[in-house]
Protein backbone atom coordinates (compact mmCIF):
# COMPACT_ATOMS: atom_id res chain seq x y z
CA UNK A 1 0.00 0.00 0.00
CA UNK A 2 1.57 3.28 -1.05
CA UNK A 3 1.04 6.52 0.79
CA UNK A 4 -1.20 7.90 -1.96
CA UNK A 5 -3.52 9.93 0.22
CA UNK A 6 -3.15 13.70 0.72
CA UNK A 7 -1.11 14.88 3.70
CA UNK A 8 -3.80 17.47 4.61
CA UNK A 9 -7.35 16.68 5.72
CA UNK A 10 -10.26 17.66 3.48
CA UNK A 11 -11.33 20.25 6.08
CA UNK A 12 -7.84 21.76 6.02
CA UNK A 13 -7.85 21.91 2.23
CA UNK A 14 -11.11 23.89 2.35
CA UNK A 15 -9.48 26.32 4.84
CA UNK A 16 -6.57 26.61 2.43
CA UNK A 17 -8.86 27.43 -0.49
CA UNK A 18 -10.58 30.10 1.61
CA UNK A 19 -7.24 31.59 2.63
CA UNK A 20 -6.04 31.83 -0.98
CA UNK A 21 -9.34 33.46 -1.96
CA UNK A 22 -9.21 35.99 0.88
CA UNK A 23 -5.60 36.95 0.04
CA UNK A 24 -6.63 37.65 -3.56
CA UNK A 25 -9.68 39.57 -2.37
CA UNK A 26 -7.52 41.79 -0.13
CA UNK A 27 -5.22 42.82 -2.98
CA UNK A 28 -8.10 43.27 -5.36
CA UNK A 29 -9.69 45.69 -2.85
CA UNK A 30 -6.38 47.53 -2.46
CA UNK A 31 -5.71 47.99 -6.15
CA UNK A 32 -2.70 45.68 -6.33
CA UNK A 33 -2.54 43.60 -9.54
CA UNK A 34 -1.80 39.91 -9.59
CA UNK A 35 1.13 38.75 -11.71
CA UNK A 36 1.92 35.11 -12.31
CA UNK A 37 5.61 35.20 -13.12
CA UNK A 38 7.56 32.10 -14.24
CA UNK A 39 8.72 29.51 -11.74
CA UNK A 40 11.24 28.18 -14.28
CA UNK A 41 14.04 30.61 -15.13
CA UNK A 42 17.46 30.60 -16.78
CA UNK A 43 19.03 32.34 -13.75
CA UNK A 44 18.58 32.19 -10.01
CA UNK A 45 19.69 33.78 -6.75
CA UNK A 46 23.36 33.91 -5.71
CA UNK A 47 22.53 33.89 -1.96
CA UNK A 48 24.99 31.54 -0.27
CA UNK A 49 22.32 30.15 2.07
CA UNK A 50 19.68 29.38 -0.56
CA UNK A 51 20.02 26.45 -2.95
CA UNK A 52 17.97 26.31 -6.14
CA UNK A 53 16.60 23.15 -7.70
CA UNK A 54 18.23 22.67 -11.08
CA UNK A 55 15.97 21.97 -14.07
CA UNK A 56 17.02 21.05 -17.61
CA UNK A 57 14.70 22.77 -20.09
CA UNK A 58 15.57 21.81 -23.70
CA UNK A 59 18.50 19.88 -22.25
CA UNK A 60 20.08 23.18 -21.19
CA UNK A 61 20.33 24.74 -17.77
CA UNK A 62 17.54 26.31 -15.74
CA UNK A 63 16.37 26.71 -12.17
CA UNK A 64 13.09 26.53 -10.30
CA UNK A 65 12.77 29.98 -8.75
CA UNK A 66 13.37 30.37 -5.01
CA UNK A 67 11.07 33.42 -5.01
CA UNK A 68 9.37 35.59 -7.67
CA UNK A 69 11.51 38.57 -6.65
CA UNK A 70 13.71 39.02 -9.73
CA UNK A 71 10.88 38.66 -12.22
CA UNK A 72 8.73 41.03 -10.17
CA UNK A 73 11.51 43.63 -10.02
CA UNK A 74 11.82 43.45 -13.81
CA UNK A 75 8.07 44.12 -14.04
CA UNK A 76 8.39 47.04 -11.61
CA UNK A 77 11.27 48.51 -13.64
CA UNK A 78 9.08 48.14 -16.72
CA UNK A 79 6.37 50.26 -15.06
CA UNK A 80 3.94 47.68 -13.63
CA UNK A 81 3.01 49.69 -10.52
CA UNK A 82 1.86 47.83 -7.37
CA UNK A 83 1.86 44.05 -7.95
CA UNK A 84 1.53 40.78 -6.05
CA UNK A 85 2.32 37.20 -6.86
CA UNK A 86 0.70 34.23 -5.13
CA UNK A 87 2.49 31.13 -6.33
CA UNK A 88 5.02 28.39 -5.79
CA UNK A 89 8.64 28.78 -4.82
CA UNK A 90 11.29 26.05 -4.50
CA UNK A 91 14.29 25.63 -2.24
CA UNK A 92 16.56 22.65 -2.41
CA UNK A 93 17.42 20.66 0.70
CA UNK A 94 14.79 22.26 2.92
CA UNK A 95 12.43 19.80 4.55
CA UNK A 96 11.18 19.59 8.13
CA UNK A 97 8.34 20.59 10.42
CA UNK A 98 8.26 24.08 8.91
CA UNK A 99 9.91 23.48 5.54
CA UNK A 100 8.95 21.79 2.30
CA UNK A 101 11.12 22.07 -0.82
CA UNK A 102 8.08 23.39 -2.77
CA UNK A 103 5.93 25.93 -0.94
CA UNK A 104 3.46 28.73 -1.55
CA UNK A 105 4.78 32.25 -1.32
CA UNK A 106 2.86 35.53 -1.36
CA UNK A 107 5.09 38.38 -2.47
CA UNK A 108 4.05 41.96 -3.10
CA UNK A 109 5.53 45.36 -3.87
CA UNK A 110 4.25 48.83 -3.04
CA UNK A 111 5.67 51.76 -5.02
CA UNK A 112 6.67 54.92 -3.10
CA UNK A 113 6.33 53.12 0.22
CA UNK A 114 9.07 52.31 2.71
CA UNK A 115 9.30 49.22 4.93
CA UNK A 116 7.46 50.87 7.85
CA UNK A 117 4.42 51.56 5.66
CA UNK A 118 4.57 48.03 4.30
CA UNK A 119 4.65 46.60 7.84
CA UNK A 120 1.39 48.44 8.49
CA UNK A 121 -0.18 46.71 5.51
CA UNK A 122 1.17 43.27 6.48
CA UNK A 123 -0.31 43.79 9.97
CA UNK A 124 -3.64 44.85 8.45
CA UNK A 125 -3.78 41.81 6.14
CA UNK A 126 -2.85 39.25 8.81
CA UNK A 127 -5.10 40.82 11.45
CA UNK A 128 -8.12 40.74 9.12
CA UNK A 129 -7.60 37.12 8.17
CA UNK A 130 -6.94 36.16 11.77
CA UNK A 131 -10.13 37.89 12.93
CA UNK A 132 -12.27 35.98 10.39
CA UNK A 133 -10.79 32.55 11.05
CA UNK A 134 -10.07 32.71 14.77
CA UNK A 135 -12.79 35.11 15.97
CA UNK A 136 -10.34 37.00 18.13
CA UNK A 137 -7.98 39.96 17.88
CA UNK A 138 -4.34 39.40 17.11
CA UNK A 139 -1.78 41.23 19.28
CA UNK A 140 0.71 43.13 17.11
CA UNK A 141 4.19 44.13 18.35
CA UNK A 142 6.92 46.06 16.60
CA UNK A 143 10.52 46.56 17.64
CA UNK A 144 14.03 46.84 16.30
CA UNK A 145 16.34 43.86 15.89
CA UNK A 146 18.86 45.53 18.19
CA UNK A 147 16.30 45.94 21.00
CA UNK A 148 14.96 42.37 20.82
CA UNK A 149 18.52 41.01 20.62
CA UNK A 150 19.80 43.07 23.56
CA UNK A 151 16.80 42.17 25.73
CA UNK A 152 17.75 38.49 25.60
CA UNK A 153 21.52 38.48 25.15
CA UNK A 154 22.50 41.87 26.66
CA UNK A 155 24.69 42.52 23.63
CA UNK A 156 24.42 45.07 20.84
CA UNK A 157 24.29 43.00 17.63
CA UNK A 158 25.45 45.93 15.47
CA UNK A 159 28.57 46.85 17.44
CA UNK A 160 29.61 43.70 19.37
CA UNK A 161 33.02 42.40 18.25
CA UNK A 162 32.97 39.24 16.13
CA UNK A 163 34.83 37.11 18.70
CA UNK A 164 32.19 37.90 21.33
CA UNK A 165 29.41 36.81 18.96
CA UNK A 166 31.36 33.66 18.12
CA UNK A 167 31.72 32.78 21.81
CA UNK A 168 28.01 33.27 22.35
CA UNK A 169 27.29 31.13 19.28
CA UNK A 170 29.57 28.33 20.51
CA UNK A 171 27.72 28.14 23.82
CA UNK A 172 24.30 28.39 22.14
CA UNK A 173 25.14 25.90 19.39
CA UNK A 174 28.24 23.76 19.33
CA UNK A 175 32.00 24.06 18.92
CA UNK A 176 31.67 24.30 15.15
CA UNK A 177 30.56 27.95 15.33
CA UNK A 178 34.00 29.07 16.53
CA UNK A 179 35.18 30.44 13.16
CA UNK A 180 31.82 31.51 11.76
CA UNK A 181 30.96 34.76 10.02
CA UNK A 182 29.16 37.59 11.78
CA UNK A 183 25.95 37.00 9.80
CA UNK A 184 25.87 33.27 10.58
CA UNK A 185 26.55 33.78 14.30
CA UNK A 186 23.77 36.39 14.47
CA UNK A 187 21.38 34.03 12.66
CA UNK A 188 22.05 31.24 15.12
CA UNK A 189 21.70 33.46 18.18
CA UNK A 190 18.53 35.11 16.91
CA UNK A 191 16.89 31.81 15.89
CA UNK A 192 17.85 29.77 18.92
CA UNK A 193 17.81 32.32 21.71
CA UNK A 194 15.82 35.41 20.70
CA UNK A 195 12.96 33.93 18.66
CA UNK A 196 11.65 31.70 21.50
CA UNK A 197 11.45 34.83 23.69
CA UNK A 198 9.48 36.92 21.21
CA UNK A 199 5.97 37.80 22.38
CA UNK A 200 2.99 35.79 21.14
CA UNK A 201 0.96 37.28 18.33
CA UNK A 202 2.38 39.07 15.30
CA UNK A 203 5.84 40.54 15.88
CA UNK A 204 7.67 42.81 13.44
CA UNK A 205 11.43 43.02 13.80
CA UNK A 206 13.06 45.81 11.77
CA UNK A 207 16.48 47.43 11.27
CA UNK A 208 18.43 44.22 10.73
CA UNK A 209 22.24 44.18 10.99
CA UNK A 210 23.83 45.68 7.88
CA UNK A 211 25.63 42.37 7.16
CA UNK A 212 22.20 40.73 6.62
CA UNK A 213 20.88 43.21 4.07
CA UNK A 214 20.52 40.93 1.01
CA UNK A 215 18.44 43.15 -1.31
CA UNK A 216 17.49 45.88 1.17
CA UNK A 217 18.80 49.44 1.41
CA UNK A 218 21.00 50.35 4.34
CA UNK A 219 20.85 53.55 6.35
CA UNK A 220 22.13 54.99 9.61
CA UNK A 221 19.73 54.70 12.55
CA UNK A 222 19.26 57.31 15.29
CA UNK A 223 22.08 55.73 17.32
CA UNK A 224 24.48 56.23 14.45
CA UNK A 225 24.65 52.54 13.50
CA UNK A 226 24.47 51.31 9.94
CA UNK A 227 21.39 49.09 9.69
CA UNK A 228 19.53 47.25 6.97
CA UNK A 229 16.08 48.55 6.01
CA UNK A 230 14.82 45.00 6.27
CA UNK A 231 12.10 43.53 8.46
CA UNK A 232 10.80 40.13 9.37
CA UNK A 233 7.41 39.17 10.72
CA UNK A 234 6.98 36.35 13.24
CA UNK A 235 3.60 34.84 14.07
CA UNK A 236 3.57 33.13 17.47
CA UNK A 237 7.34 32.74 17.25
CA UNK A 238 7.38 31.29 13.72
CA UNK A 239 9.17 33.18 10.95
CA UNK A 240 6.44 34.24 8.52
CA UNK A 241 7.57 37.08 6.26
CA UNK A 242 10.65 39.00 5.15
CA UNK A 243 10.50 42.49 3.67
CA UNK A 244 12.78 45.20 2.34
CA UNK A 245 12.87 48.86 1.50
CA UNK A 246 14.29 47.75 -1.81
CA UNK A 247 17.84 48.53 -2.87
CA UNK A 248 17.80 50.39 -6.22
CA UNK A 249 21.51 51.00 -6.71
CA UNK A 250 22.60 48.50 -9.37
CA UNK A 251 26.29 48.94 -8.60
CA UNK A 252 25.84 48.21 -4.89
CA UNK A 253 23.58 45.24 -5.70
CA UNK A 254 26.27 43.92 -8.04
CA UNK A 255 28.86 44.18 -5.23
CA UNK A 256 26.58 42.23 -2.86
CA UNK A 257 26.12 39.50 -5.48
CA UNK A 258 29.92 39.31 -5.80
CA UNK A 259 30.16 38.93 -2.00
CA UNK A 260 27.57 36.10 -2.23
CA UNK A 261 29.66 34.34 -4.85
CA UNK A 262 32.79 34.61 -2.68
CA UNK A 263 30.85 33.12 0.24
CA UNK A 264 29.58 30.31 -2.03
CA UNK A 265 33.10 29.58 -3.17
CA UNK A 266 34.42 29.59 0.42
CA UNK A 267 31.68 27.11 1.40
CA UNK A 268 32.42 24.89 -1.63
CA UNK A 269 28.98 25.55 -3.06
CA UNK A 270 28.42 25.71 -6.83
CA UNK A 271 28.86 29.12 -8.42
CA UNK A 272 25.83 30.86 -9.95
CA UNK A 273 25.84 33.30 -12.88
CA UNK A 274 24.41 36.67 -11.79
CA UNK A 275 21.00 37.34 -13.40
CA UNK A 276 21.94 39.79 -16.16
CA UNK A 277 18.28 40.66 -16.86
CA UNK A 278 17.85 41.81 -13.26
CA UNK A 279 21.05 43.87 -13.44
CA UNK A 280 19.85 45.54 -16.67
CA UNK A 281 16.49 46.28 -15.07
CA UNK A 282 18.23 47.89 -12.08
CA UNK A 283 20.35 49.96 -14.47
CA UNK A 284 17.18 51.05 -16.24
CA UNK A 285 15.80 52.07 -12.83
CA UNK A 286 13.68 50.35 -10.21
CA UNK A 287 11.00 52.68 -8.83
CA UNK A 288 11.28 53.45 -5.11
CA UNK A 289 9.35 50.62 -3.47
CA UNK A 290 9.06 48.24 -0.56
CA UNK A 291 8.42 44.52 -0.99
CA UNK A 292 7.67 41.55 1.23
CA UNK A 293 7.44 37.78 0.85
CA UNK A 294 5.14 35.81 3.14
CA UNK A 295 4.96 32.03 3.63
CA UNK A 296 1.33 31.11 3.00
CA UNK A 297 1.64 27.53 4.27
CA UNK A 298 3.06 28.77 7.56
CA UNK A 299 0.31 31.36 7.88
CA UNK A 300 -2.23 28.56 7.50
CA UNK A 301 -0.35 26.44 10.07
CA UNK A 302 -0.67 29.26 12.60
CA UNK A 303 -4.30 30.02 11.77
CA UNK A 304 -5.30 26.37 12.15
CA UNK A 305 -2.86 25.34 14.88
CA UNK A 306 -1.13 22.71 12.70
CA UNK A 307 2.17 21.24 13.95
CA UNK A 308 3.74 20.44 10.63
CA UNK A 309 3.68 22.03 7.20
CA UNK A 310 2.55 18.78 5.58
CA UNK A 311 -0.77 19.04 7.42
CA UNK A 312 -1.67 22.22 5.50
CA UNK A 313 -0.60 21.34 1.93
CA UNK A 314 -2.29 18.80 -0.35
CA UNK A 315 0.84 16.69 -0.72
CA UNK A 316 4.03 17.24 1.25
CA UNK A 317 7.27 16.20 -0.41
CA UNK A 318 7.36 12.77 1.26
CA UNK A 319 4.16 11.93 -0.66
CA UNK A 320 5.06 13.53 -3.99
Amino acid sequence: MTNWQPSASQAMLRCRAELLASLREFFSQHGVSEVDVPVLGRSTVTDSNIESIIAQPFGGSGYLQTSPEYFMKRLLAAGSGDIYCLGKAFRNGEAGQRHNPEFTLLEWYRCDWDEQQLMDEVADLISRIYATTNQSTLAVHRGSYGDYFAQVLAVNPHSAPLDQLQQLAVSAGSQSWAGETRANCLDLLFSVQVEPQLPQGLVFVYDYPACQSALAQTSVNDQGQLVSRRFEAFLNGMELANGYFELRDGAEQGQRFDEDLKARSAANKPSIAVDSHLMSALDQGLPSCAGVALGVDRLLMQLQGADSIGQVMPFSWDRC
Binding site: N49, I50, H99, S174, A183, A214
Partner: protein, 188 residues
Protein backbone atom coordinates in the same frame (compact mmCIF):
# COMPACT_ATOMS: atom_id res chain seq x y z
CA UNK B 1 32.94 3.82 12.63
CA UNK B 2 31.11 5.64 9.88
CA UNK B 3 30.34 9.35 10.11
CA UNK B 4 26.74 10.49 10.09
CA UNK B 5 25.62 13.83 8.66
CA UNK B 6 22.87 15.89 10.32
CA UNK B 7 20.38 14.80 7.63
CA UNK B 8 20.94 11.17 8.66
CA UNK B 9 20.30 11.90 12.36
CA UNK B 10 17.35 9.75 13.40
CA UNK B 11 15.93 8.96 16.77
CA UNK B 12 17.96 6.07 18.19
CA UNK B 13 21.14 6.71 16.17
CA UNK B 14 24.24 6.41 18.38
CA UNK B 15 26.96 9.00 17.84
CA UNK B 16 30.07 10.27 19.61
CA UNK B 17 29.92 13.75 21.11
CA UNK B 18 32.84 15.23 23.06
CA UNK B 19 34.22 11.74 23.61
CA UNK B 20 31.04 10.16 24.98
CA UNK B 21 28.55 7.88 23.22
CA UNK B 22 25.15 9.54 22.84
CA UNK B 23 21.79 8.45 21.51
CA UNK B 24 19.85 10.90 19.34
CA UNK B 25 16.37 11.66 20.65
CA UNK B 26 15.14 14.43 18.36
CA UNK B 27 16.44 16.28 15.32
CA UNK B 28 14.76 19.46 14.11
CA UNK B 29 15.72 21.22 10.86
CA UNK B 30 15.84 24.99 11.33
CA UNK B 31 16.52 27.56 8.63
CA UNK B 32 15.93 31.28 8.72
CA UNK B 33 14.64 32.42 5.30
CA UNK B 34 17.86 34.30 4.56
CA UNK B 35 20.22 32.47 6.87
CA UNK B 36 22.28 29.37 7.27
CA UNK B 37 20.51 26.06 7.84
CA UNK B 38 21.08 24.22 11.08
CA UNK B 39 19.79 21.30 13.09
CA UNK B 40 18.68 21.46 16.71
CA UNK B 41 19.42 18.07 18.16
CA UNK B 42 18.48 16.49 21.49
CA UNK B 43 20.79 13.71 22.60
CA UNK B 44 21.10 11.48 25.63
CA UNK B 45 24.62 10.93 26.93
CA UNK B 46 24.66 7.15 27.39
CA UNK B 47 27.32 7.30 30.11
CA UNK B 48 25.65 9.86 32.34
CA UNK B 49 22.04 9.56 31.17
CA UNK B 50 21.86 13.34 30.84
CA UNK B 51 19.89 14.91 27.99
CA UNK B 52 21.74 17.60 26.02
CA UNK B 53 20.61 20.04 23.38
CA UNK B 54 23.06 21.06 20.66
CA UNK B 55 22.73 23.03 17.45
CA UNK B 56 24.81 21.86 14.51
CA UNK B 57 25.27 23.39 11.09
CA UNK B 58 23.31 21.37 8.55
CA UNK B 59 25.63 18.94 6.82
CA UNK B 60 28.00 18.71 9.76
CA UNK B 61 28.85 15.13 10.70
CA UNK B 62 29.44 13.19 13.91
CA UNK B 63 31.27 9.92 14.26
CA UNK B 64 29.06 6.92 14.88
CA UNK B 65 29.42 5.29 18.29
CA UNK B 66 30.21 1.59 18.54
CA UNK B 67 27.14 0.93 20.64
CA UNK B 68 24.97 -2.15 20.46
CA UNK B 69 21.85 -3.13 22.40
CA UNK B 70 21.68 -6.88 23.03
CA UNK B 71 19.37 -9.20 24.99
CA UNK B 72 21.42 -11.08 27.58
CA UNK B 73 20.74 -13.35 30.51
CA UNK B 74 21.84 -12.17 33.95
CA UNK B 75 23.91 -14.93 35.57
CA UNK B 76 25.33 -13.87 38.94
CA UNK B 77 27.17 -11.25 40.95
CA UNK B 78 30.61 -12.02 42.44
CA UNK B 79 30.75 -8.99 44.72
CA UNK B 80 32.57 -6.76 42.23
CA UNK B 81 30.92 -7.46 38.91
CA UNK B 82 27.61 -8.58 37.49
CA UNK B 83 27.86 -11.24 34.80
CA UNK B 84 25.65 -11.43 31.69
CA UNK B 85 25.58 -14.04 28.94
CA UNK B 86 24.71 -13.77 25.25
CA UNK B 87 22.07 -16.50 24.75
CA UNK B 88 23.29 -17.57 21.28
CA UNK B 89 27.06 -17.64 21.72
CA UNK B 90 27.16 -18.13 25.51
CA UNK B 91 29.77 -15.37 25.55
CA UNK B 92 29.92 -13.72 28.99
CA UNK B 93 30.30 -10.04 29.80
CA UNK B 94 31.12 -8.46 33.15
CA UNK B 95 29.40 -5.20 34.03
CA UNK B 96 30.59 -2.91 36.80
CA UNK B 97 28.34 -1.18 39.33
CA UNK B 98 28.26 1.98 37.23
CA UNK B 99 26.90 0.11 34.21
CA UNK B 100 24.34 -1.87 36.19
CA UNK B 101 23.18 1.30 37.92
CA UNK B 102 19.53 1.33 39.00
CA UNK B 103 18.88 -2.04 37.33
CA UNK B 104 20.68 -3.63 40.28
CA UNK B 105 17.67 -3.39 42.59
CA UNK B 106 15.53 -5.48 40.20
CA UNK B 107 17.92 -8.17 39.01
CA UNK B 108 17.22 -11.83 39.66
CA UNK B 109 19.42 -14.55 38.26
CA UNK B 110 18.33 -15.76 34.78
CA UNK B 111 16.43 -12.54 33.96
CA UNK B 112 16.73 -11.45 30.32
CA UNK B 113 18.01 -7.86 30.26
CA UNK B 114 18.95 -5.41 27.52
CA UNK B 115 22.67 -4.78 27.85
CA UNK B 116 24.13 -1.85 25.92
CA UNK B 117 27.66 -2.61 24.78
CA UNK B 118 30.05 0.24 24.03
CA UNK B 119 33.29 -0.83 22.34
CA UNK B 120 32.34 -4.36 23.38
CA UNK B 121 31.94 -3.64 27.13
CA UNK B 122 28.65 -3.19 29.02
CA UNK B 123 27.74 0.50 29.30
CA UNK B 124 24.27 0.17 30.75
CA UNK B 125 21.72 -2.49 31.71
CA UNK B 126 17.95 -2.28 31.38
CA UNK B 127 16.06 -4.86 33.46
CA UNK B 128 12.93 -6.64 32.15
CA UNK B 129 9.91 -4.30 32.08
CA UNK B 130 8.06 -6.56 34.53
CA UNK B 131 9.57 -8.63 37.31
CA UNK B 132 8.01 -10.94 39.92
CA UNK B 133 9.72 -10.68 43.30
CA UNK B 134 9.14 -11.84 46.86
CA UNK B 135 8.49 -9.40 49.71
CA UNK B 136 11.16 -9.87 52.39
CA UNK B 137 10.16 -7.07 54.73
CA UNK B 138 6.97 -5.10 55.30
CA UNK B 139 4.70 -4.02 58.15
CA UNK B 140 1.99 -6.50 59.00
CA UNK B 141 -1.34 -5.58 57.37
CA UNK B 142 -2.75 -2.37 58.92
CA UNK B 143 -6.39 -2.68 57.97
CA UNK B 144 -8.40 0.47 57.50
CA UNK B 145 -5.42 2.85 57.61
CA UNK B 146 -6.00 4.86 54.44
CA UNK B 147 -3.89 7.87 55.45
CA UNK B 148 -1.13 6.73 53.08
CA UNK B 149 -3.56 6.03 50.27
CA UNK B 150 -4.04 2.44 51.31
CA UNK B 151 -0.45 1.38 50.67
CA UNK B 152 2.73 0.69 52.58
CA UNK B 153 6.38 0.25 51.68
CA UNK B 154 7.67 -3.26 51.11
CA UNK B 155 11.26 -4.35 50.57
CA UNK B 156 11.74 -6.97 47.88
CA UNK B 157 14.27 -9.78 47.74
CA UNK B 158 16.44 -7.90 45.21
CA UNK B 159 16.65 -4.78 47.38
CA UNK B 160 14.02 -2.53 45.77
CA UNK B 161 11.35 -0.90 47.92
CA UNK B 162 7.90 -0.50 46.38
CA UNK B 163 4.51 0.62 47.63
CA UNK B 164 2.10 -2.30 47.99
CA UNK B 165 -1.51 -2.64 49.21
CA UNK B 166 -1.99 -3.04 52.96
CA UNK B 167 -3.20 -6.65 52.82
CA UNK B 168 0.10 -8.07 51.56
CA UNK B 169 2.58 -9.74 53.88
CA UNK B 170 6.14 -10.95 54.00
CA UNK B 171 6.58 -13.97 51.69
CA UNK B 172 4.02 -12.79 49.12
CA UNK B 173 5.24 -12.47 45.52
CA UNK B 174 4.39 -9.26 43.65
CA UNK B 175 4.63 -8.16 40.03
CA UNK B 176 6.33 -4.76 39.55
CA UNK B 177 6.85 -2.49 36.53
CA UNK B 178 10.57 -1.66 36.66
CA UNK B 179 10.14 1.46 34.46
CA UNK B 180 7.94 3.16 37.04
CA UNK B 181 8.71 1.12 40.15
CA UNK B 182 4.96 0.59 40.59
CA UNK B 183 3.21 -2.43 42.02
CA UNK B 184 1.17 -4.22 39.35
CA UNK B 185 -0.41 -7.11 41.23
CA UNK B 186 -0.01 -10.07 43.51
CA UNK B 187 1.29 -13.30 42.03
CA UNK B 188 -0.43 -16.37 43.42
Amino acid sequence: MANYSTNEFRSGLKVMLDGDPCSILENEFVKPGKGQAFNRVKLRNLKTGRVLEKTFKSGEALEGADVLDMDMQYLYNDGDFWYFMEPESFEQHQANENAVGDALQWLSEQDICVVTLYNGAPLSVVPPNHVELEIVETDPGLRGDTAQGGSKPARLVTGATVKVPLFLDQGDVVKVDTRTGEYQGRVK
